[in-house]
């Protein structure tokens, strides 16, 4: 870049070539820099967020599968998770305004239940077409612990937060089960058996 300012002006076409080279160099450097930074960000995310959670999930799955705890859990989870009323019961339970902020943080509970249900689906206890409604049944509490912070990020007034927290919690009680029903009807034809 500095060479352009030094040699520029000595002759007309040389300056033009120089300017072209600088522009190209800058553009390429910019794109490469962005790609490199993007790579750095993604590796950072994987080491900070994804791998620790994989470790945590693996410990739980290993213990549950090996001790046979999973089979005991399956006895009462599978009947609940393999029909529409059962899934609605799960979603209403998770959406109860007192429980939902407790179940929310980091979506840890939803993720652990997701993995447990996944194991049951893999073993054939729960039919695969129930995977879609199950995804919504275990998640009506999403973000319920985060409402004041989320609203503050959106620069909301304290009065809005005061009303917003109960409004969202009550809304979940209505929309949670509805989401399960919508997902249930949207799951028609999903992994339907061919016979």
């Amino acid at each position: 870049m500095s060479s352009a300012t030094v040699t520029g002006g000595s002759s007309g076409w040389l300056a033009g070539v120089n300017r072209l080279l600088v522009t190209i160099g800058k553009a390429v450097g910019g794109v490469v820099g962005i790609l490199y930074q993007a790579g750095r960000d993604s590796i950072d995310t994987i080491i900070r967020n994804i791998l620790p959670f994989m470790a945590f999930i693996s410990v739980i799955v290993g213990i549950i599968n090996k001790t046979g705890l999973g089979d005991h859990l399956a006895h009462w989870v599978s009947p609940l998770a393999s029909n529409l009323p059962g899934l609605i019961v799960i979603s209403v339970f998770c959406a109860i305004p007192v429980l939902s902020p407790v179940l929310g943080p980091g979506a840890v509970i939803a993720q652990v239940i997701g993995v447990l249900l996944g194991v049951r689906i893999g073993k054939g206890d729960i039919a695969p077409q129930y995977s879609l409604p199950a995804l919504f049944a275990i998640d009506p509490q999403v973000g319920c612990d985060f409402i004041p912070v989320g609203l503050a990020l959106g620069e909301a007034e304290p009065e809005t937060v005061e009303i917003g927290v109960p409004a969202v919690l009550i809304s979940r009680l209505i929309t949670g089960p509805i989401a399960v029903i919508i997902a249930y009807f949207a799951s028609f034809g999903l992994y339907a058996s061919s016979n």
């Binding site: 967020n49 979506a107 409004a167 209505i174 999903l190």
Partner: protein, 215 residues
């Protein structure tokens, strides 16, 4: 469970058939140790599956999408935020469908909620509800948006993979149903917020009137 069958699982014991499996006190201890290590061996196999199966894809996908977001520039969606603040029925899909999608995609969890700053106070709880409800459905196809909470989807999708089925069908439907749900959630929460706001202002008027009457 017979003692010999468990002891044979220990790799060293199988190499030499002349050695008797441990019995008595030490035999019981060895069985317990085998069982204990087995818990974590199973976990380790599971971890290995996750790391080799999911992490390589995530590295490439996260890098590509992070680069795309940087090239486009997240500040461009500010205009959509201004549009979403308009009143009227035709702006509902912008406010609770387009804006949450774009903000979760470009700003990712948790910065996506900052887009609420363009909206009037009465829409903010509904927008938050709508945006936060989308941070899991989006992870099926765009895991960069909420990399810390992937296992809601990945957990259940893992079962589908175990069955040897393709998870793409589930991912697409999860995203589409998620979009329907966030629109619905935004509208319902907005109605509830407005009801509570009007009830509160009515209460405030009442208390003011009683104060004036007593004064």
């Amino acid at each position: 469970m017979p003692v010999t069958s468990l002891a044979s699982l220990v790799p060293l014991a199988t190499s030499d058939t002349n050695v008797k499996p441990p019995t008595g006190f030490f035999g019981a201890m060895a069985d317990a140790a085998t069982w204990f290590i087995g818990l974590f061996q199973a976990g380790g196999v599971n971890f290995m599956g996750l790391v080799t199966g999911i992490v390589p894809l995530l590295v490439v996908l996260l890098t590509a999408i992070n680069a795309l977001i940087r090239l486009i520039g997240p500040e461009r969606i500010d205009k959509v935020g201004e549009m979403a603040a308009r009143p009227g029925l035709q702006w509902y899909p912008v406010r609770y469908l387009v804006l949450p999608f774009l903000s979760v995609f470009f700003l990712t969890n948790p910065m996506c909620y900052t887009m609420g700053r363009f909206l009037p106070e009465k829409y903010k709880p509904a927008f938050y509800d709508s945006a936060v409800s989308f941070v899991h459905p989006i992870t099926g196809i765009f895991p960069h948006a909420n990399a810390g909470e992937l296992f809601v989807y990945l957990g259940i999708a893992g079962g589908i993979t175990t069955l040897g089925l393709n998870t793409s069908d589930l991912a697409v439907r999860y995203l589409l149903v998620g979009l329907v749900v966030i629109l619905l959630r935004g509208i319902v929460t907005e109605i509830i917020t407005n009801t509570m706001l009007s009830r509160r202002s009515a209460q405030q008027q009442q208390t003011q009137q009683t104060e004036e009457a007593t004064a």
